[in-house]
């Protein structure tokens, strides 16, 4: 009994400490992607971000472990899976020749300080590019175009678009772009936040709110698993996600931008999309958003 308990605790700890992934490659999906990944051929200026990362031998990424389809820790394999996670691995492979990364859990409160004090090299975490944020961080990209969608309980009437959210109680994930989107589309809506997507879903089903606003890809995934959920129309916002880089580091931003252009052209970006978001969103892979030079 005691031994069983110890084993359970160890398993739990092992599951939780999966942030650092020392095993190169890992899951089959990622291997296939890495085989096509381009390598950095530019100059390495001593003291630059690329030089620092190369000397360290791994890329430090600020991100999430609990964002389905984007950056989620697989509790069985200990691998980080999803669109953001794979891009991080590919970027590391690009710079280092091996997918050596370390994920540091970032939150919307810690992202800017983590970049500013150099704790992480990049933030890849559905980081919407906004003018206010541009004043504190540099963004490479955008690397992904997303939109907020509305979901309701099946059989809900009267909600056909974002304007119908006015005056209603709307559920949103804490610290997600949904909050700003709701405020903009329906300023009189009452926003109730819960920590994670499953909690938001449960809250919706228990009647804590009449609608749930979330990234469309996540809602599509939810609806595929849950017959009680119904999506309302198409996304009503356009969020452009960027890769956060230390403010003022134009050189490294350029390197990441070039890399994004390259994988967009070679079709690797679309391949990553198909392996992750494309597993729940039907239709062909979209084209990556244009990167301003």
């Amino acid at each position: 009994m005691g031994r069983l308990f110890v084993a359970a605790v160890l398993l739990f700890v092992a599951g939780c400490s999966g942030g650092e992934n020392a095993v190169p490659g890992g899951g089959g999906k990622l291997d296939a992607l890495l085989a096509k990944a381009p390598a950095y051929t530019g100059q390495v200026v001593p003291g630059s971000a690329v030089d620092r990362i190369k000397k360290r031998g791994k890329l430090l990424i600020g991100g999430s472990q609990d964002a389905p389809l984007l950056s989620q820790l697989d509790p069985v394999s200990g691998e980080l899976t999803g669109f953001d996670a794979y891009l991080g691995k590919l970027l590391a492979h690009h710079l280092l020749g091996k997918p050596e990364t370390e994920l540091l859990s970032a939150t919307s409160e810690t992202r800017e300080p983590l970049l500013a004090n150099g704790t992480v090299d990049v933030i890849i975490q559905t980081y919407t590019i906004t003018p206010a944020r541009r004043e504190r961080v540099a963004f490479a990209g955008p690397y992904y175009r997303s939109g907020q969608s509305i979901a309701v309980r099946k059989g809900t009437s009267g909600i056909t678009g974002p304007a119908d959210l006015a005056g209603r109680t709307v559920i949103a994930g804490a610290n997600t772009p949904a909050i700003a989107a709701i405020k903009q589309a329906a300023p009189t809506a009452r926003i109730v936040e819960f920590g994670s997507d499953p909690e938001c879903l449960t809250a919706l089903k228990q009647g804590r709110g009449e609608a749930y606003v979330q990234d469309q890809a996540i809602l599509v995934a939810d609806a595929a698993k849950d017959g009680e959920l119904q999506l309302v129309g198409e996304p009503f916002t356009e969020d452009l996600y960027g890769i956060g880089i230390k403010h003022g580091d134009a050189e490294f931003t350029e390197v990441v931008d070039d890399w994004l252009r390259e994988i967009g052209k070679s079709g690797l970006w679309q391949e990553v999309w198909r392996q992750t978001i494309g597993t729940v969103v039907t239709g062909e892979a979209p084209s990556p958003p244009a990167i301003a030079s």
Partner: protein, 204 residues
């Protein structure tokens, strides 16, 4: 600005109401643990051990998502109030009980030797002495409770921490925003500490 105010007022309201609730429930539990009835003592001990040994966040999630499953549906604010009050009641009960225990046993024995009943000796001899000694421990519980209300933000209540997070989402200035929120908590906690000192002097 209205968001800051809403968050601040919710935190203040949640703190005051939860502490009032915790005092009430904690008093009942403390009495249960003191009276010479084994069944009540046992029940009081079980209450304290169950409530304080499970994290408040777990209680909040259980209350918010579990109660509707069994047909109990309350607004989020009141659900959070119940969870926080019942959780902190365990700490209040222990603070009260240790206050009573701190009165030398000789005092109770002397009271009974004078012919006072259990209730009388408690009311006239033990409690007045215990009262002053529990003020600071109770203030500690109250301050811990103030900070614990931030957890309600995780289950949908717009408290001060949640409001700060929302504001930061727009401003992207976490150091500034959270220093501000921290100062609000500091003012509240300092107020509790000041109140406790005044009360302690009065009871002396």
């Amino acid at each position: 600005m209205s968001l800051v105010l809403e968050g601040f007022l919710n935190t203040v309201a949640l703190t005051l109401l939860s502490f009032a609730g915790a005092l009430l429930v904690g008093l009942v539990v403390a009495v249960m643990r003191i009276v010479p009835v084994p069944l009540l003592r046992g029940a009081g001990a079980v209450y304290v051990e169950v409530w304080r040994n499970i994290p408040l966040l777990a209680w909040l999630v259980l209350f918010v998502f579990g109660l509707p499953e069994v047909g109990v549906r309350m607004p989020l604010f009141w659900t959070a109030f119940c969870a926080i009050a019942l959780y902190e009641a365990a700490f209040v009960a222990e603070a009260l009980r240790s206050g009573v225990s701190s009165v030398a046993t000789g005092q109770g024995e002397a009271a009974r030797a004078l012919g006072l009943s259990f209730g009388q000796s408690l009311r006239h001899v033990v409690l007045p002495q215990a009262g002053r000694r529990v003020v600071q421990p109770l203030a500690n519980v109250a301050i811990a409770l103030t900070m614990a209300t931030a957890l309600a933000g995780v289950v949908g209540v717009v408290d001060m921490t949640r409001a700060a997070q929302r504001i930061n989402l727009e401003l992207a200035q976490p150091l500034l925003v959270f220093t501000g929120a921290g100062l609000c908590y500091l003012v509240m906690a300092a107020g509790i500490g000041f109140g406790a000192r005044v009360l302690e002097r009065r009871l002396a």
